[in-house]
């Protein structure tokens, strides 16, 4: 089912020409501009594959190409990540056993030297941090190239319909989706070379310079050579263990936002949200705006973890928040039909007899994000486990440079926080990278200081104190 009206969003951009794709031979209506998984979901298809050992039904989970739950056979090619692959007219989509059969006679691929793009600063990731890094690196004098694995820029911003906090010069009061547009406009104004649908698959040291190897549209290898790299690869949804947690219908919060806000596909009819941090609270509100019933939010802690105002917004619309509650089990044959929750005592133990069922077809997990540090870990940056920042993060200095000279980090991949801090960190990292590449004048250090001051100010409240505790563990000069 597709959403038609929405108080904030307009879905024309992602509903281009109408095309037909085929699922197991059955024709399905889709629109150019959507991904395969979205089109299937809109047609009511939830199960994408069965797991080999235990024949468990599986469907979407993260919807951003990181968890490999949505793999299907497309036009005979196995293991295509349907959540980030765009539809094409006539596509044949089939469920694969998790172990597909290899197609027989094929010609071997021909060796080809991949094109090499040279720049001063390479930015990996086109979310708020990456875009700010690119903009400021370019302004500081660097030739910048930016890659993002999605078909559009904006990172998580493109799903955020709510207005941002912070100061007005930091886009407070502006909706996330609009901020994404504004930043993209700034990028394009500066003629920064953009590579969309391009995934970075490795980061290497090549002599004095850095090499980022990317794959575009899963078809083409492209090499990017630069003097400095800013990694702004964002974060990934966490998973929690509860019974039947892999049933189709158990989604990361981000996946639901992608379905609903980016592609205008109704995620389901009734939702249970696990987690009352900002993500869970905002998600509840967005679901309500899209006309989806939120049965409840369960939170294991005794209090609301996110901003109170986000909670107040949804409570007055009648959405209950059950603190000191956890999810025990998802039930359903091929997909979620019910969620069983229970109350916890002061020692986080389930209180027997408090189990209750919610009839829902979607369980949204908003239990936390963890930084996506794969590229940084692979190249050898030093990492450390810091729970205040969301998990494993890289050690870096106050200019966002990691333990490898010339490699910078910004945004959620440096530590889970907000878009405002991502943008400020992106600015710092971008200028830092331009300085590191030797193309920026030392005048630019003043801009870094300005951004550092703004970050300090932003983080000076109680929500920021947790982050500051975490930063103490990872910022070294």
């Amino acid at each position: 089912m597709r959403l038609s009206e929405h108080p904030i969003l307009n879905f024309e951009k992602v509903r281009g020409k109408e095309v037909t794709i085929y699922f197991e031979g059955t024709p399905i209506k889709a629109y150019e501009g959507e991904t395969i998984a979205m089109a299937l979901h809109a047609a009511g298809i939830r199960t994408f594959q069965y797991s080999t050992k235990k024949h468990r039904p599986r469907g979407l989970f993260c919807a951003i190409g990181k968890c490999s739950s949505c793999l299907m056979k497309v036009n005979g090619i196995p293991n295509v990540r349907t959540c980030i692959t765009l539809v094409e007219d006539g596509m044949q989509i089939e469920m694969q056993e998790e172990k597909p059969l290899l197609p027989k006679t094929k010609k071997p691929p021909k060796w080809k030297e991949p094109p090499r793009i040279e720049a001063d600063v390479i930015v990996v990731g086109g979310g708020p941090a990456g875009m700010m890094a690119a903009i400021h690196a370019q302004d500081a004098g660097a030739k910048v190239v930016l890659l993002d694995e999605n078909p559009m820029l904006g990172g998580q911003l493109v799903k955020q319909t709510h207005k941002f906090f912070g100061k007005r010069e930091q886009f407070a009061g502006v909706r996330g989706i609009k901020i994404a547009d504004i930043l993209e406009e700034e990028l394009r104004k500066r003629n920064i070379e953009l590579f969309l649908e391009t995934s970075a698959i490795m980061l290497l040291q090549e002599g004095e310079e850095k090499l980022v190897v990317g794959v575009r549209k899963n078809k083409e290898l492209i090499e990017f050579k630069g003097k400095a790299v800013v990694v702004a690869t964002g974060a990934m949804e966490r998973m929690i263990p509860f019974e039947n947690n892999d049933l189709p219908g158990v989604y990361g919060a981000g996946a639901i936002q992608t379905l609903m806000n980016t592609y205008g596909v109704k995620p389901g009819d009734k939702v249970l949200i696990v987690g009352a941090g900002n993500v869970g609270l905002i998600l509840a509100y967005q679901l309500y705006q899209a006309g989806v019933k939120v049965e409840a939010i369960v939170e294991a802690m005794p209090k609301v973890g996110g901003y109170f105002v986000h909670a107040a917004k949804i409570r007055r619309l009648g959405i209950p928040i059950l603190t000191r509650h956890t999810i025990l089990r998802a039930e359903g044959k091929e997909k979620v039909e019910r969620a069983i929750v229970a109350q916890l005592d002061e020692n986080w133990k389930v209180i027997p007899g408090t189990e209750r069922a919610f009839e829902v077809d979607v369980i949204a997990l908003a239990v936390g994000l963890r930084p996506s540090i794969e590229l940084l870990h692979q190249v050898g940056c030093q990492i450390k486990y810091v729970p205040e920042l969301g998990g494993h993060v890289v050690i870096r200095d106050s200019r966002m440079e990691t333990t490898i000279r010339g490699i910078f980090v910004a945004g959620d991949s440096a530590g889970i926080e907000e878009a405002t801090t991502a943008m400020l960190e992106g600015k710092i990292a971008g200028i830092g990278a331009a300085l590191g590449a030797g193309v920026a004048s030392p005048e630019w250090l003043k801009e870094i200081e300005k951004a550092q001051k703004e970050l300090e100010e932003f983080r000076s409240g109680p929500f920021g104190s947790k982050v500051l505790e975490g930063l103490k563990k990872v910022v070294v000069e």
Partner: protein, 379 residues
């Protein structure tokens, strides 16, 4: 702590030796720097073959395969005799292999030359357009290194062997050319018999006893890839192509295709896989099995070939120090030799001689300048 025998190194070699010694009622302790298998065993290509080009290795591997079969059934780990298929592209190669095959047949190893059509029946996905024949032994096979090594270790312990993980040997105490004890980071173990089964690190252990002879074993980095899992029976045997840079590939139990090529860097202890290797391995392997091009490569990793100049290990007793044995330098085929090496070394220790041709691996041959014929090796 006391132990009659101390084995340094908890890979397949050390574990197999300890397993065999424990079976014979000997008191043995294995000292492993990290966790068992963490050296080269857990990084290996999983292959087990009898197709060698010299009598000694053929006999040893024939015995090893017997032991692999016996223990895999008894202990319940996976060992599948899915065969080894060497692809041959010209008359010279075919001649070479005819000779190898006759040696193997002489010892009862049923290798034979087959036609490209027959090869294609065994592996339908093969591109046979360039091959003129293939060397096929259906009794060769592969095993899961994790479960196999763990099973041997568990049973060795049940039979009385002690395995000390996260224990690193710091020094070997010697007086009057007699081994007195082994000093580790967790204390001293009094012992009189030490076996160096540390493969890529054997130089370091040899230095501790001031080994008076040269046993050149150097670590070289080799790399491998694994793909996404695909349906079973896609590539059952281990397929080898010397033409395409000594490549090898097969399907693992869990469905992914594992493979590598003869891309070597070293001597070095660096285990970081490289971009160059990733592009080369996919190029060569997809020449052998073109449909590989669609498969997702999930990961690369690196491991050591602890190489000697003739690619044969050094196995034997060192006369100058009592009692010091070495079983190291397996040059890329240590996993498959494991059980037989266990028997050979246990024989040397308990009986003073072995029923298998252990002289071929004489540790003194390098000193004497008597290198053996280079052992057949790929990847």
């Amino acid at each position: 702590m006391n132990s009659d025998i101390v084995v340094i190194g908890g890979g397949i070699t050390g574990i197999a030796i300890a397993h065999e010694l424990a079976k014979r009622g000997e008191e043995v302790t294995v000292i492993e720097k990290r966790f068992i298998g963490s050296g080269s065993t857990f990084r290996c290509g999983t292959g087990i073959r009898q197709q060698f080009n010299d009598e000694a290795n053929v006999q040893v591997m024939k015995r090893s395969v017997e032991l692999w079969k016996k223990y895999s059934e008894e202990y319940g780990f996976s060992f599948k005799q899915t065969g080894y298929l060497f692809l041959l592209y010209n008359e010279e190669e075919v001649e070479q292999f005819r000779e190898n095959i006759s040696i193997q047949n002489r010892f009862g190893v049923p290798t034979k030359l087959i036609t490209p059509e027959e090869a294609k029946e065994i592996v339908p996905l093969l591109d046979t357009s360039e091959i003129i024949a293939a060397s096929w032994n259906p009794t060769d096979g592969k095993a899961d290194p994790f479960h196999a090594t763990t099973a041997f270790a568990l049973h060795a312990q049940e039979m009385g062997a002690r395995i000390l993980e996260y224990t690193e040997v710091k020094d070997i105490i010697i007086a009057d050319n007699e081994i007195k004890a082994v000093k580790t980071n967790n204390g001293v173990i009094k012992t009189g018999i030490v076996i160096n089964a540390t493969n890529a690190w054997s130089k370091l252990i040899n230095a501790m006893i001031k080994l008076p002879i040269r046993i050149p074993i150097e670590p070289y980095r080799h790399q491998a890839i694994i793909t996404q899992p695909i349906k079973k029976n896609a590539i059952n045997p281990m397929v080898i192509s010397f033409k395409y840079k000594d490549s090898y590939l097969t399907q693992t139990d869990h469905g992914g295709i594992i493979g590598g090529i003869g891309y070597e860097v070293g001597p070095t202890y660096n285990l970081t896989p490289s971009y160059g290797f990733l592009r080369e391995v996919t190029t060569y392997l997809s020449k052998i099995i073109p449909s590989l091009r669609e498969l997702l490569i999930l990961r690369t990793w690196a491991g050591y070939y602890a190489k000697t100049p003739d690619s044969n290990p050094a196995i034997g007793k060192i006369e100058e120090i009592n009692d010091y044995y070495i079983a190291a330098g397996f040059s890329g085929h240590g996993f498959m030799m494991g059980p037989a090496v266990g028997e050979m070394v246990a024989d040397l220790i308990t009986k003073g001689k072995a029923s298998l041709p252990v002289e071929w691996y004489d540790p003194y041959r390098f000193e004497r300048g008597e290198l053996r014929q280079k052992a057949l090796q790929m990847g």
